[in-house]
């Protein structure tokens, strides 16, 4: 039986690249794409390999935490299982401490941390007692000082912590948890964080997607909980 992969942040950047990459995996027969931007989701779906696969778009704002249980239940009902969860959706609005508003703090943590936690909780309800994988995208900002990126960097640190803890808490259930921390990557989010940078010179989302595909492949069976830094070598 083929697997179902759920991808958040699938309308652009690493999420879009991961969706395209996962559509080439013959072991995955169902892919659920989640993002706020419905047009972006359609654009992603149009670039995916649809042969033998069911691809569905779920336009959804992860800021609505209360709706996530129904969202995940619907995906499980429609596909018959949830086997892989790629938590890629991210939000960044870098500000210095004194310029950081409460809305900025709440929005950043809601998308980057709270929604991820709720998504994982709800996905695990359908993953129990079956080999399944959860991959959370953090950032190299999670583990290094980034003045001016207070909310974003600290929220990504929470992602690393969450993943490590969950890997231990879910140990023995058949569910493995990974974190990847991409370094500089050519995404719209990077454009916000470092607007002066030439994106063509740095790591591309497709390269990160290749790492994601390797990690969630059945053959990967030795890692669990580690924060894996993904950087382009010079």
């Amino acid at each position: 039986m083929g697997k179902t992969c759920v991808i958040t942040g699938a309308s652009q950047g690493i999420g879009q690249a991961a969706a395209i990459r996962m559509s080439r995996d013959p072991g995955i027969t169902g892919i659920a794409l989640i993002a706020r931007n419905a047009d972006g989701l359609r654009d992603t779906a149009a670039q995916m390999d649809r042969s033998g696969k069911e691809i569905r778009c779920y336009p959804y704002d992860l800021g609505d935490l209360d709706g996530i249980p129904a969202l995940m239940r619907g995906i499980n009902d429609e596909f018959g299982s949830v086997d892989i969860l790629l938590n890629i959706a991210g939000y960044a609005d870098p500000q210095s401490l004194l310029d950081t508003t409460n809305d900025n703090i709440v929005r950043t943590y809601t998308i980057n941390v709270f929604a991820m936690m709720v998504l994982i909780r709800e996905a695990v309800r359908y993953m129990y007692d079956r080999p399944s994988k959860i991959l959370n995208v953090a950032s190299t900002a999670a583990t290094t000082s980034r003045p001016g990126w207070l909310t974003y960097a600290s929220s990504k640190a929470a992602v690393v912590s969450m993943s490590t803890t969950l890997a231990d808490e879910l140990a023995g259930t058949g569910i493995k948890v990974y974190t990847i921390s991409p370094g500089r990557c050519a995404t719209d989010l990077r454009r916000i964080l470092a607007p002066e940078e030439d994106l063509s010179t740095i790591m591309q989302p497709s390269q990160v997607a290749d790492v994601i595909a390797t990690l969630v492949d059945d053959a990967e069976n030795t890692l669990d909980g580690q924060n894996i830094v993904v950087r382009q070598k010079a």
Binding site: R125, Y128, D129, T165, D168, E169, A171, G172, T173
Partner: protein, 227 residues
């Protein structure tokens, strides 16, 4: 053959010195009770599982069962004033079962294989036991007698019994107003049937005092190969 299981989760947290009953203490991030129920869920031969708990924690236990997805064959009832009464109430709730397993939430490191071996054992009535590695004497303030540890066994759970025979033994004990500390003793006393002793495991410890949870954490991490 219809197999039922009683899981005793009747602690109120007195001996462990924590504000919550032992069955809710976390081991590896999960309540002790959940560790046991996960194993029961993995064994398809078990048709129905009844968790007995104190009335004060009925809602909390039911919520735990629901949250962790133990929906179908799991139920929760109020236990009794004693361990023995809780087993009795659990047995009555499992009406229609031919064989019954008895286990307790405070033995979270029991393995699926131990449950399977118990179910597959040819004997209708069986328990796990391990040798006693230390010397045991009779007495309190003074030594009053000797015991040969080679004749003794450290009783472990889970245990398996013919459901009707165990219920009858419990009813006899209730009539006599006699309390036993566990069911192999009660069954041996009242039922005219042998109880097989299967070799138990040092891993299957009972969480009784605060240091036990520290030891169990280390054993759990080791068992998962994450040490």
């Amino acid at each position: 053959m219809k197999i039922g299981m009683v899981v005793l989760a009747g602690g109120i947290g007195k001996r462990i010195g924590r504000p919550m009953p032992k069955q809710f203490l976390l081991l590896g991030g999960k309540p002790l009770l959940v560790h046991v129920l996960e194993k029961a869920r993995a064994i398809r031969e078990i048709d129905s599982v009844v968790v007995t708990c104190p009335p004060s924690h009925l809602d909390e236990t039911r919520k735990l069962i629901e949250n962790h997805g133990f929906a179908e064959k799991f139920s929760c009832i109020v236990g009794g004033a004693s361990r023995q009464e809780s087993v009795y109430n659990g047995l009555r709730a499992l009406d229609g079962c031919d064989s019954v397993l008895i286990h307790e939430a405070v033995r979270p490191l029991v393995s699926v294989e131990e449950f399977r071996a118990l179910i597959q054992a040819p004997d209708d009535n069986a328990m796990y036991g391990i040798p006693i590695p230390f010397t045991v004497l009779k007495g309190h303030d003074y030594v009053e007698g000797l015991l040969d540890r080679n004749e003794l066994v450290n009783v472990q759970l889970p245990q398996k019994f013919d459901a009707a025979a165990l219920l009858a033994a419990h009813e006899a004990a209730r009539r006599d107003d006699v309390i036993f500390t566990e069911d192999a003793s009660l069954f041996f006393h009242y039922a005219d049937a042998p109880v097989r002793i299967l070799p138990g495991s040092e891993m299957n410890i009972k969480i009784t005092v605060p240091t036990d949870i520290v030891i169990a954490e280390a054993m759990y991490v080791d068992a998962l190969g994450r040490g």
